[in-house]
């Protein structure tokens, strides 16, 4: 599932010493063969996953991929049909939700509307029989952590969306859970607030040292916050790795297209080896070159994924048009303006459309490549990601 040995990714996590690379490291949370069916539909199909102490792990997937079901199984709100969950050496089978050292930040926040902010945060402590004075102290500590001091007596209805998210987080952390589960915690917030909350979640996670497992469909959220992420597809884990690994070295067409944008070409492996791969394509009158060995032997059909930002675009008559191991000619059909970058839609001579993004380095009026220009798209072998069909 993770990247093949020897394909080290330079983007190492700055915050974390990557225990998943150490075969001797003991996982904090082990998910073994977890399967869950609803009727005849397998929401989860034999999930195996190890998560380490202090990690910020993101489960990323579309709706119906099973990510929320997996989170609910970790919380004890759902029971797996097969497989087991071991947390800190303790098998969670038969441990009901209320007895697990696991707390959850719900997607709707699920704050108790009839209780004040302080009562909400203290709820778990009260259930555990924590003395009143100690609970009050812990509530104050939690409010300071999420920077919501002075809101003790408010009701949830009198809070904004961002404030509710903070209180929900404070409530989930109040009992010092071994594992904090976050179910799409920021999906209800607008973009700017979401970004600032992402940084805050990260910093709170670092300060408390709690192991976080977050479910999200927002790839940007997963990429910026997580130490590692697992891409889920129809009840299975399509790929697990650091954000850099999964983005730079996707192991399937699904991951390549789910995370970021990818142009997908198809072809047949002609030769492959440690020095690189040559892929023949009936569609283009050229071979596609890649630096990496192919996942399949010569003769197999494969996909080549190309990230738009790894492609260069130049007018045919420009000097730069001669660079690059791979070259395809075409015509600009469409330019989408995103502010910070342009996305060119280039129609190749064969009729296929490639998306090529270019950073917005100059003003629009001085754009070097314009509508209907004859262009050459070039890229290095490093940018060709060869994926099994």
């Amino acid at each position: 599932m993770s990247a093949a040995p020897g394909t080290a990714i330079p983007a190492r996590s700055r915050r974390f010493d990557e225990p998943w690379r150490d075969p001797a490291a003991e996982p904090f949370l082990r998910i073994e063969g977890v399967t869950k069916r609803f009727g005849g539909f397998a929401a989860l199909d034999g999930i195996d996953l190890s998560i380490y102490r202090g990690e910020f792990f993101a489960l990323l997937g579309g709706s119906g991929s099973g990510k929320s079901t997996l989170l609910r199984i970790l919380a004890g709100l759902e029971r797996p049909d097969a497989g087991r969950v071991v947390l800190d050496g303790q098998d969670m089978a038969g441990v009901p939700a209320h007895a697990r050292p696991v707390n959850m930040m719900f997607q709707s926040y699920a704050l108790f509307p009839h209780m004040t902010v302080a009562q909400n945060i203290a709820f778990g402590l009260r259930m555990d029989g924590v003395p009143r004075a100690a609970a009050r102290e812990r509530v104050a500590e939690m409010l300071a952590l999420v920077r919501m001091e002075g809101f003790e007596a408010r009701r949830p209805a009198a809070l904004s969306g961002g404030q509710r998210a903070r209180i929900a987080l404070a409530r989930a952390l109040a009992k010092r859970p071994k594992l904090l589960l976050l179910d799409e915690p920021l999906s209800a917030l607008d973009k700017n607030l979401r970004e600032s909350m992402q940084f805050e979640l990260q910093s709170i996670q670092e300060r408390t040292g709690t192991t976080f497992v977050i479910v999200t469909h927002d790839q940007e959220e997963a990429m910026t916050m997580a130490t590692r992420l697992g891409v889920m597809d129809r009840g299975t884990l399509a790929q697990v790795g650091t954000p850099g690994e999964v983005y730079e070295l996707p192991n399937s067409r699904f991951t390549a297209e789910f995370l970021g944008t990818a142009n997908i070409l198809d072809g047949v492996v002609e030769t492959t080896g440690p020095a690189g791969t040559r892929i023949g394509s009936a569609e283009f009158d050229m071979a596609i070159l890649s630096d990496a060995p192919a996942p399949k032997p010569p003769g197999s059909r494969v996909y080549v994924a190309l990230r738009p930002e790894r492609l260069r675009i130049d007018r045919v008559d420009a000097a730069e048009a001669r660079h690059g191991e791979n070259r395809l000619a075409g015509r600009v059909r469409d330019i989408a303006y995103f502010g910070d970058f342009f996305m060119y839609h280039v129609e190749l001579d064969g009729g296929r459309v490639l998306r090529v993004s270019q950073p917005n380095l100059r003003r629009i009026t001085e754009r070097p490549v314009d509508w209907d220009d004859q262009v050459v798209v070039t890229w290095d072998g490093q940018a060709s990601l060869v994926l099994p069909e």
Partner: protein, 294 residues
């Protein structure tokens, strides 16, 4: 048509309804309550009469109210009725709450069917249903018959014409009025709240007490009032199923109206009863509204 005029027209219909079917009859009953009984039809003297000097005089007779306050018979009947209503509403709550909760948590496709079953008895006559209980409860009835046949008892139990039979009847007849508002408030409850309670360490029972119960209180209050208010004046069920013992206020009203033909006293009693019920509820409502706004 100006918006103001349109709004006035929209409000006119319910206002006319209330005036015609509540305010006017209440005013008539109130006025009879202050009249003097008289022989004839109707059996009371008009309030406005020509005095000896020929001038129009308003004569309010306070004797009815005075009698109601002085004769403990009426106060006792009223208290007894309040107690019967309170016990019945409490029984309805105890039976209805688990029912409403079960319906609210039933699979989506089942809920409407279950609600239909709750309302189904309304499709037969009220009198018929109460009479059916006689068939069940009497000495040769089905319940005694079954117990005798099983050999659990040797002589029939006295079930009919007891307080037990009366409470059974009232609880049975008024149960839907409790279940429906309870269901309405329970089905609106976000299931994630209960999951959050469990996640934070609440066992199912504590989760119910800390989350479900307090958040369903509006439904509890609505259902309780819907049962309590009509049960206070309930006349038919205690009459058909209840014992011969002390009288309830509904029975007293009936006797004063139809047997004694003392319309003024009966009207005064009706007005006092209404005020006794309306004033505390109105107070409670205004308090609840203030709380909700805060």
């Amino acid at each position: 048509m100006t918006p103001r005029l349109r709004r006035a027209l929209v409000l006119a219909l319910p206002a006319a309804w209330m005036l015609l079917f509540f305010a006017a009859p209440f005013a008539i009953v109130l006025s009879i309550g202050f009249a003097e009984p008289a022989e004839g039809i109707p059996p009371y003297a008009p309030l406005l009469r020509r005095g000896e000097d020929g001038a129009l005089q308003l004569q309010l007779n306070m004797a009815n109210l005075q009698l109601l306050l002085e004769d403990p018979f009426y106060a006792e009947a009223a208290l007894r009725s309040l107690r019967v209503a309170a016990v019945s509403a409490t029984l309805c709550l105890l039976v209805g709450y688990p029912m409403a909760l079960a319906i609210a948590r039933a699979p989506e496709g089942w809920r409407n069917t279950l609600l239909m079953l709750v309302v189904l008895p309304f499709w037969t006559s009220f009198l018929l249903r109460v009479t059916a209980w006689i068939g069940l409860l009497q000495d040769q009835g089905w319940i005694n018959g079954a117990l005798l046949a099983l050999g659990l008892i040797e002589d029939p139990l006295r079930l009919l014409y007891t307080d037990l039979a009366m409470y059974l009847g009232i609880t049975y007849c008024y149960l839907p009025f409790m279940v429906l508002p309870l269901y309405a408030s329970l089905s609106r409850l976000d299931p994630a709240l209960l999951e959050a309670a469990a996640d934070l360490g609440a066992r199912p029972w504590r989760g119910f007490l800390a989350v479900t119960l307090p958040l369903s209180l509006p439904g509890v209050v609505a259902g309780y009032l819907l049962v309590f208010i009509p049960a206070v004046g309930e006349f038919v069920i205690p009459e058909l199923l209840g014992g011969p013992g002390a009288q309830l206020i509904g029975r007293v009203l009936w006797t004063e109206f139809f047997q004694n033909r003392d319309w003024p006293l009966a009207s005064a009693l009706a007005v006092v009863l209404l005020l006794l019920l309306v004033l505390p509820i109105a107070l409670f409502q205004s308090r609840a509204t203030r709380d909700a706004e805060r």
